[in-house]
Amino acid sequence: MPVDVDAAVISNTRLSDDYSVIALAAPELASLARPGQFVMVKASRGADPLLRRPFSIFEILRDRTGGPIGITLLNKRIGVGTARLYEAESGARVACLGPLGRPFEPVAPPTEAWMVAGGVGLAPFMTLAEAIRAGGGHARLFYGARRAAELYYVELFERMGVDVVLTTEDGSRGRKGYVTDALGPALAALSAPSEVRLYVCGPTPMMRAVADLAALHHAPCDVSLEQVMGCGLGGCYSCVVLARDSEGAPHFVRSCIEGPVFEASRIVWHALAH
């Protein structure tokens, strides 16, 4: 059952003109959170903006004894709600409802977890990587961005023992091209696709491309979709994606409660709003 906390902003670190990492004091939320879950956030008072916005739980903050004390959000400013969050100063209050949504299921060794992130799609993978590493599993992160300056937290993932593969569209860091250009060959090099499970989050076209690669190589693949969400609780039916049921028939399903994590093969990609 989700909680709603009026969380105090511990810090809000601007990584760039549009990216920031905001730390929120929310022990209960932090202790409930599972990999890849999200929270519904409102950083402003009054009715304009009105609705909360969904954000992946990026990091779990812990005290010296390892007790959960809060969470961070990796925020990319694209409109009014994300702008309010970007501007939030420490001390300010942010309404935070969660944890919500179907989490990632971390694979168990010897299966490897291959995380594929595009841009702000990195957000759900910190918690997943932690879980995988805690279980002694091997984790790889394929992480793509436009240019080097937009690659964040690489060292942190590496320190966790995650093997990170970087790509940038301008070649300013890692391999030049899209993240799929690095993933494809890696998948092809596998002796058996069952050795890995893919976890994907990023722009819709990128997720679709990765899903196609996964299908091609018969690799199991989970995607974390980012639909516009009005409530996050299954109340409004705004967040639907067209997904196949067990008989393969497509239906609109609520990505806030059946997702945001879906088996890639269920998704009718051409019907996704982009």
């Binding site: 009105l50 909360r52 009005g230 609780l233 109340g235 409004c236 639907v240």
Partner: protein, 312 residues
Amino acid sequence: MDLSVSIGTLTLPNPLIAASGCFGYGVEYSDIVDLSTLGGVAVKGLFLAEREGHAPPRIVETPAGMLNAIGLQGIGVHRFVREKLPELRDRRAIVFVNICGTTVDEYCEIARILSDHEGVAAIELNISCPNIKQGGITFGCSLTGTHDVVSAVRKVTTLPVIPKLTPNVTDVASFARAAAEAGADAVSLVNTFLAMAIDVHTRRPKLTNIVGGLSGPAIRPIAVRMVYECRQAVKLPIIGMGGIANADDVLEFMIAGATAVQIGTANFVDPFLWKTVLAGLHEYMTRHGIARLADLTGSIDTTRKETAWISS
């Protein structure tokens, strides 16, 4: 303190009803709010058959409001009574079933089926959904259409029949009158205002359906006025809604003439608001020494103050 209100034969523990389409089928919220503590739960609009609804994007935010064009995605009445009603009954929710049809017969057929099942408290006739091509609002925008649907459904069920009025009309009070004459037990208003938003860079509508329904705080002053007008036109209990987000908003609708209220969009913003709103009502009753909340209904004082002497 007595917060109970009566809608015809129905008595609600308090006036707070979850608005249709804003609370799923109720069960989605059962671990956030004890459904039996609510005045009622209006479930998502149901047709006879299942419906997929419109392609996303289905909502877009606007100043102090939101547009929606869900297109009444739903599981249909048969699956509803099978899959959702039992749990709602177990949780002792007072269930208002919001029904929608493309023909008068469909409304009647759904009403008949619901009447055969335990745990349905009332039928809310959605004749005002702006988001579907036939049915719904085409009845709600015509006085005869409204009269026909209401009187037909009236004949096939003994459950309270509550037509839900659209605000997209010149004279909402005349529709309340038509509903009363057709035998409605109450009216609920308002449904959403037909509206649209355009992405100026793509020059495309922000909703796939082009138009959608405006809800939220933005519409509250218009909705309050419409409740006030209906109150003067009919004796029927009125279930008021439109932008209610706190106890003062609830009181405003009741003072204007509402017996009960529904809360929709605000539940998206704060699904825990039910407790706070109830607390706010208690506080108001204490402060003003009001024993029965129901006494507030229609208690607006419109006698002019001395300051008004020069008005034209």
